[in-house]
Symmetry: C2
Subunit: 343 residues, 2 copies
């Protein structure tokens, strides 16, 4: 009882119409089909349970109906709240517009064997969303310039002209800096993510500018690398306070590092925020549930993923040539930052 796959031809036979007619009905292509014929065709489709073959459609239309999400090969990229949020957003929006998503990990072998190119060349996907890229991802150059339906999500590369939609991390740094200054802090540290990530640099730059405007310096001894992880943030906070026992506030480049920093601070006998204020960046779900709840720069990650997906669709449909979007951010005030204690 191998149910042979039923094709449009079977529907044609069953309904007594021609191939073309069936296709026209199914795609609402023309009003030319009389209601009676239309009816017959639709009934036949129903009776047979016909479903068009995507491969054939794709071959004809030169579209696969898929987009790829390219994520970096991190220890646990698929178990990360940040990437999870992004993937959810992309999946949600893509399904809405009838697209499906392919998951790819940008491993060295993957890139080296040019599979990122093949995704296009072999007609696997109609577009690619690149998440978690760094300035070291040289292969992105091959996607540069107009014409390729590729969007970098929440980052960009200064070296190449790539489509991107990104949060305003410079503003994020500035806002955090201004806020800490306004609370009265003067000895402020920074735990950044990684210097090969452009947004991390932007955050630092914005932060420095704000401090500078307020007459405060950010010496190198007050800057630590937290590797974007909780453990990294914890270690960085400990190093930072060891070198600068007088520090009263820290900005962390993401919430994970901020939470790690809080752990580290508590661990070394500092109260948060009484002794040291901590400000994060992201505003992930968990930011509201740690102790103390995290004051953080809210970056609209879900929204961003959605927009990136929308813009990618625009590129695919040829409605647009270039995508360069910067999204505003804003502060979320909770409990992890307060004025410094009086000396």
């Amino acid at each position: 009882m191998k149910r042979k796959t039923i094709s449009i031809k079977d529907v044609a036979r069953e309904s007594g119409a021609s191939l073309t007619t069936v296709s026209l009905v199914l795609n609402d292509r023309d009003q030319r089909i009389s209601p009676a014929t239309r009816q017959r065709v639709l009934q036949a489709v129903d009776r047979l349970g016909y479903r068009p073959n995507r491969l054939a459609q794709g071959l004809q239309s030169q579209k696969s109906g898929l987009i790829a999400i390219l994520v970096p090969q991190l220890r646990h990229a698929f178990a990360d709240a940040y990437f999870g949020e992004l993937i959810s957003a992309i999946h949600d929006h893509a399904s809405e517009v009838g697209y499906k998503i392919l998951l790819e990990v940008a491993r060295p072998e993957f890139i080296k064997s040019n599979q990122h190119q093949e995704l296009f060349d072999r007609h696997f996907v109609d577009g690619i969303l690149c998440c978690g890229v760094t300035n070291k991802d040289a292969y992105l150059k091959e996607f540069a310039g107009a014409g390729k339906a590729v969007v970098v999500v929440n980052n960009y590369l200064p070296a190449f002209k790539l489509n991107h939609v990104c949060c305003d991390y410079k503003a994020a740094g500035r806002m955090a800096g201004e806020y800490l200054l306004s609370l009265g802090h003067r000895r402020i540290g920074l735990i950044h993510g990684a210097h090969e990530v452009q947004t991390s640099l932007d955050l630092q730059r914005g932060f420095e500018e704000a401090l500078h405007t307020g007459g405060v310096k950010l010496p190198a001894s007050m800057v630590e690398d937290g590797l974007y992880t909780e453990e990294g943030g914890e270690a960085a906070a400990k190093r930072l306070l060891k070198r600068n026992p007088g520090a009263t506030a820290i900005l962390a480049g993401n919430d994970k590092m901020a939470i790690g920093a809080i752990t580290g601070l508590k661990d070394t006998g500092h109260r948060v925020p009484e002794d040291v204020s901590v400000v994060g960046c992201d505003d992930m779900h968990q930011a509201g549930y740690c102790d103390p709840p995290l004051t953080t720069v809210h970056t609209p990650i879900y929204e961003l993923g959605k927009r990136a997906c929308e813009r990618l669709m625009d590129l695919i449909r040829g409605r647009v040539e270039i995508v360069e979007e910067i999204h505003p951010v804003n502060m979320t005030y909770r409990k992890s930052a307060s004025p410094p204690k009086p000396e």
Copy 2:
């Protein structure tokens, strides 16, 4: 300069051979091709940068080269260590054998509009791996019986005959029970995940059997639902100890709940393991890094994902009709369980 897509036809022209010859060379289909011709064809391929079109290949071979991973619509399924591990494993193995993966979320609309069926009917994918299913997922019935390349990952449904590869959760429960008994515990509680998940029931059953054999009962008052989450585990532990102040040990159905339970216990003034021992299940990465490090039942999740993928390939290639695999588990001893304190 719209680079027209180059087809096998172009290669044929360029190399002076016929369509068929090119195809034969490319697929190593026959030894009949002379080395000279072969050479010419390969050079042409190289010169033109030809890449076969997957859609055309798929149409011809009736294979899409894709498999779908179906995950449940959880709060943050894509940010969960358990699913992350599974997805990584599947992705790794699938890439190895030249398959790509499609990500799908089993939302109610998705199921209601029969898109899970369409994945097959419309030739989107050659097979499906279902993760995180529960006994309530009635739609799985449509995948039951032989013939469909569908594998349930790390669970199974007693109601339907479905392909599955699963850890031995009954043994897990038994081992944890025996271990706690061997330490000398007598008043032992359980925090399970959800009663609509078969493996959760199995774990409980194995646990009860072990306790029973040791002459210990597991009264209903000692069983709480932890919802598979940290927060749930924390609340469950608190409820459990409130109702049973004399409890000296708890088994949690997964590591997240176990870690939550530890938090809850500490929070209410219990030391772990001195006052209350806690045993988890999963052995996720974080289990080794919490405080105290978690004694837990090791379930080989990565390995399991890989095997599930392998078995799915067997189904797709028709090498096998039915898949039913149970994987053994074992204890990982760390610091969260110890003998109860003497009265």
